[in-house]
Amino acid sequence: MKNTEFNRRDVLKTAVAGATLALTGAPAVHAQQKSIRFLNAEPGRESVRVLRVAAAEYEKQTGIKVIIDTVPPDDAFSKTQASIAAGTPYDISTLAFAGHVLLLAEAGKLVPITKLVSKYQWGPRILFPIKGENYWYPYDYNFCWMYYRKDLYKQKGLKVPTTWDQMQENAKILTGDGKFGVSLPLGANAATQWMSLGNMWAEGVSMLDDNFKLILDNAQMKPKVIAYLEYMKKLSPSMPQGMTQALFGTVLGQYSGGQIAHAPYAGRLMEVLEDKAPALVADTGFFMYPDSAGKAQAVNHGYDGWVILNTPMRDESVKFMEWFTDRHYINFLHSAPLHFQPPRMDIYDDPRWRAHPLIEKHADLVAFMKSLLTRNDVIIKSIDTEGPTIDLRPPKMFETFAICDALQNVMIKGMPAPEALEIMSAKYRTVLG
């Protein structure tokens, strides 16, 4: 009779065999499963749902599993870096900063998707090609403009402002009884640089020349920047206190709560009003940031998009993105129908996109949003995309928050604007080298 008892040697052999299998076999098994890891940075419930539905459909059709991980937008780059450093990079990731795309592309971590991107026509200042190649697939422009209370304007007999003086006067008139004329964040953060610089761009300020040299304090720009800082100081009595702590949600809450008469934001504000304060929807209008003389208008832009990482699954990831952007791109845009402003121009004429109830209801807002892309007199700017091409220096400038310091110096410390400009320029020069 055969002895079936395990002795110590058998146990050791089994353990060694198991370990060997785990070390050598597991990756093979993983590869056979063909899973794509997708890092999503849109944590909204509907956005996550759309991605999961698409992932399930794709797995059903192709057998390839798409694993969706979701993080807050600010954590996306850190998590992407960590996954690369840990040797288990995501196959697809969401990024919201041109500098991050550039860093990953220059490190050879991204796959060019020029062919995929070239299938469509895109709006201005969104693709940020690097050495002739496109590395990301944008899904949102994130323009920031001004909203205002039409009912209050009517009550007080005000007109939509086309100059700084008019804006300041309107804000002043609408301040009182615990209500404030306008809310513009002033903290050293991205919210301030997205929401509070539009007037400066409208005034024609550029920070860098074509050689990435700082021109903020040259003879042409200096008076404009000083004028902008002084304008913001004049606006400050019409703002609620605590604006250095204000973030994106603060402004949404202040406007939907009826505390302020003007708020900077993108389409998200209208979505919030529809959800939380429907009575304000019909009473809300919008306009671009004006300049001092009524000659120019601007919006500040942000942007979001997907990148494909250079992993063993890159070819499958490209195929997935081809399929996803063809079949589910509009579904994803519909997950924040007014906030995700399409960068792809074909979307605006696509009946599937236009059929969303909120897009139909807010046809005037959607037409306004589209006009930002089609009009050639609209100034579209952001600190991190200053300069002739995409480069890491403007994102470095963005992260110093030097202009936020200038605003605080002028508005809180009472520093003269020229001195604040001098300090800001010096700080920018330290990162420009």
């Binding site: 860093l103 490190a107 605590g242 604006m243 605080q408």
Partner: protein, 295 residues
Amino acid sequence: MKSFRTSSDKWLLAAFVACIAFTLILILVPVLHAMHLSLFKSESFVSESKWVGLANYVQVLSEPAFWRAFGIGIVFALLTIALQLVLGIACALLLDQPFFGRPVIRGLAILPYLLPTVVVAVAFQWLLDGSLGLLTIWSEQIGIGRPAWFENPLIAMGVVVVASVWTWTPFVTVSFLAALQTVPKSLYEAARVDCAGPWARFWHITIPMLTPMLVVIILLRSIWMFNKFDIIWLLTKGGPLGATEHLPIMAYRRAFAQYDVGGGAAVATLSFAVLSILIIVYFHFYPLEEKDQRT
């Protein structure tokens, strides 16, 4: 040294060695990795690194912002440690007295320490919100207007100090209260016989008896407060105008936001070095061996 002969002893030794090795890995590897990173110039954790030797240190040490952040860290640490000690010891002495409901109050006293820092920060932010904050509104109602909690550099520093003190004072209270139980009651009785009042008993019995515990508390609080990142980051992010930006926030900003991994690592390493020196100096003046001599 006792030899490890029995099977049990060997297991004990193995477990001990494993724990030490595990701890060393968890502590030493990140420290050494940070030091390693500080010798390279790199714009991200995935970018190509270029060896620059001590250039990052030279750069960081030549910046006024570094010394300002260092000074802010010292001020923050000193203020919070002093207040935590005074309030913590006072609370411990109160809780050591017999009174009705003492066990419940002792339990409640540790509550702030049990709250996650993010909860404390959000609560303070809401209390001090410039428009809707309860304390802001109360301040206005009592006629002192709406304080610029987070706009004024001094007040902002005050806010982070108060939030820190409120959260971590219970640690001092509980530690000191536990140590108080070890002081022989006979010493107090003898002092009473000699007509020593409460103040004299505190200074001549309690404090000398609990000096070793105080040394440890001050040491731990110094390390924690000098490195305290979360509460400041959550409340002010180092603002306004850098008024609450100390070295940990500076290191984080440089490494994770400002595309300067080497510079951030250099700041972190320098912070580590400064703290190590402070601890060595501290132990030089207040050696823990005193406890053995006394007992």
